[in-house]
Symmetry: C2
Subunit: 360 residues, 2 copies
């Protein structure tokens, strides 16, 4: 039942697991199409709670709350990939959950994800599993130095990662990431980081947004620019990779594929996010249909939109105390300010973003 996308009528209710800014922007897009959203999140301060009428504040393991949630919504989706896979499976026994929970099982584990990608003959950085400190030496022999040790689960924005350079003691890196099952990845001397935001409809149609170039600061996305400064051939290849991944997953909804563009021009997949993605926020103002609307259309069983980009687009994240810059941005002609309604501007916290569209 879980993979069957019913065609929803306007007025239907979409259940969203997760209450952050992605859930908030999904709910705003759903409202524009006449849908209601019901947000399920354990965090009472969830930014998405403010923009919907019905909310459930409960733990993801609270089966009573999940049962009530399932009875009150027509389809379930999620706004972040660390929703416990068991939660998605529990719900999928009751109503359609899109994308399919099996995607979570793959993307929640960096090793499973990389193995899946490599199995599609899509390039990744060389990698090796590290289940215990004793396996570090052999993994380093295979992957080479410098390398990055990453926990298999629950990493984002650079958390759970340690670099192993020439002088680094591998066991110190192991302790740094918390002594958990890891993947060791070769450090890739890339020229650029890009991403493809792809939507796949229930009918199998795939629509990709134009390839976006991403600039990180302290492992957190700071600026996205579109189009990316890559060759047409590389852009086409990047889109093909995203399409292949979406097809192989039998995906329904929006996913993001992050890629490295190598100095000599090749592409390697860095990771997959089975959800709307920060590097696609530019689509809210810079395209005829946004990533959020595409996701809503897909999980509603509606046809995808054909994205038309309005020009050259730049998106800047407002991180931590940078949120105060909103005042200055309000007066910049053409700048679209988005604030997520978060109370505390903690360091590293994504508080909002600003998009600008320029004539091409």
């Amino acid at each position: 039942m879980s993979t069957t996308a019913a065609v929803l009528e306007p007025g239907a209710t979409i259940g969203v697991l997760g209450g952050g800014q992605l859930g908030r922007m999904l709910a705003l897009a759903a409202a524009r199409l006449g849908f209601k959203c019901h947000i399920f999140s354990p965090d009472p301060d969830s930014p998405a709670f403010d923009v919907v009428h019905r909310t459930t504040c409960a733990d993801y393991t609270d089966t009573q709350a999940l049962d009530r949630f399932a009875e009150n919504v027509d389809v379930v989706t999620y706004e972040f990939e660390n929703v416990p896979a068991e939660t998605a499976v529990f719900l999928a026994a009751r109503l359609p959950v899109l994308p399919d929970p099996k995607v979570l099982a793959t993307t929640q584990d960096r090793l499973a994800e990389k193995s899946f990608i490599a199995g599609l003959d899509i390039g990744t950085a060389p990698f090796a599993a590290v289940g215990a400190p004793a396996e570090l030496a052999a993994a380093l022999d295979r992957v080479g130095r410098p390398a990055v040790l990453k926990t298999r689960r629950f990493g984002y924005d650079g958390k759970g990662q340690a670099t192993i350079a020439n002088g680094t003691d591998p066991e110190a890196a192991w302790r740094e990431v918390g002594g958990q099952p890891c993947i060791l990845e070769a450090f890739v001397p890339f020229a650029r980081e890009v991403s493809v935001i792809a939507a796949r409809g229930a009918d199998g149609t795939v629509e990709c947004f134009d390839v976006t170039e991403n600039e990180h600061r302290d492992h957190i996305l700071k600026v996205s620019r579109v189009p990316a400064a890559v060759t047409d051939a590389a852009a086409l290849q990047a889109r093909r990779i995203a399409e292949t991944i979406a097809d192989k997953f039998g995906y329904v909804g929006v996913l993001a594929v992050e890629l490295f563009v190598l100095r000599e021009g090749g592409l390697l997949v860095n990771e997959i996010a089975p959800r709307v993605h920060n590097s696609g926020h530019w689509t809210l103002d810079g395209a005829s249909v946004s990533q959020f609307e595409q996701h809503v259309r897909a999980v509603a069983g509606w046809p995808l939109g054909k994205p038309i980009r309005h020009g050259r687009v730049e998106m800047v994240n407002l991180i931590g105390s940078e949120v105060e810059d909103y005042r200055a941005w309000l007066s910049v002609p053409g700048a679209a300010v988005h604030l997520y309604g978060k109370a505390a501007a903690r360091p590293g916290r994504k508080m909002g973003h600003v998009t600008r569209v320029f004539a091409e």
Copy 2:
């Protein structure tokens, strides 16, 4: 106190009187800027209730409910002009209400509104007050035939209007509109109907969107096109008229001025709507800042945006059963579909709209 616009911080709560699609789209725009909205509406099926977390369903004369509402919001605005002026005055004694309730008193009465406009040396159709059937003959002598008899209060979308042509018995028209105090207006043989959506900030800055041309069907707006097919001089004059009206009201927020373009090119003001307006819906997709965002910025004491139009824009209303056309529109490249979440598609009811942006 009522006209003092405090500068709100993100996270503040904007109270909105009225829960229709205009309140819904205001709330969506407010959310994007990090504000919460609290919708006050007597209708339990209010479309705006679905997109906010806090709602009050109570009559506009329920002073207890209004008191609680006032305690829970930082500023009050309204989404439609027939909110009882006493409600706005009651609230204005407690917190800022924007635009100022005195604007409602003027615009709720067609005679007061027309007199106000004429007092600014801005053209209107010839008009005369009709308080009783005995005054009809003298009014017709002054205004001429054909003329339109309109109730002074609570008219919209052609309701409360009757045409008096050469053969019409004036007393029949009087009975048709319900025997209420009326205004008799000369029928104007106009070439086009246009509107100007103007925003005025708390600092007195006025920003007008480009003049929009409107096509009605059965007295209900069907299509808006921008730019209007008028001369630059006429467009400039229309904007000046809107600016003058906004300034004279000491207005804070968005207002719409509907005008007739005469066959020989002159402009007459038809009516003022002290709120966001259907003929400004194109700004959601067709401009760098929407009318809804401008209104939120104004009532929040924030600087207005400088609207940049993305191209030639066409907005089509989906009225009554036309809402079913959304399915076909979803597949039209570049078409942005907006549905208001209304359950019953009654004849004449505005259910949604579609915007298309074309290269100019």
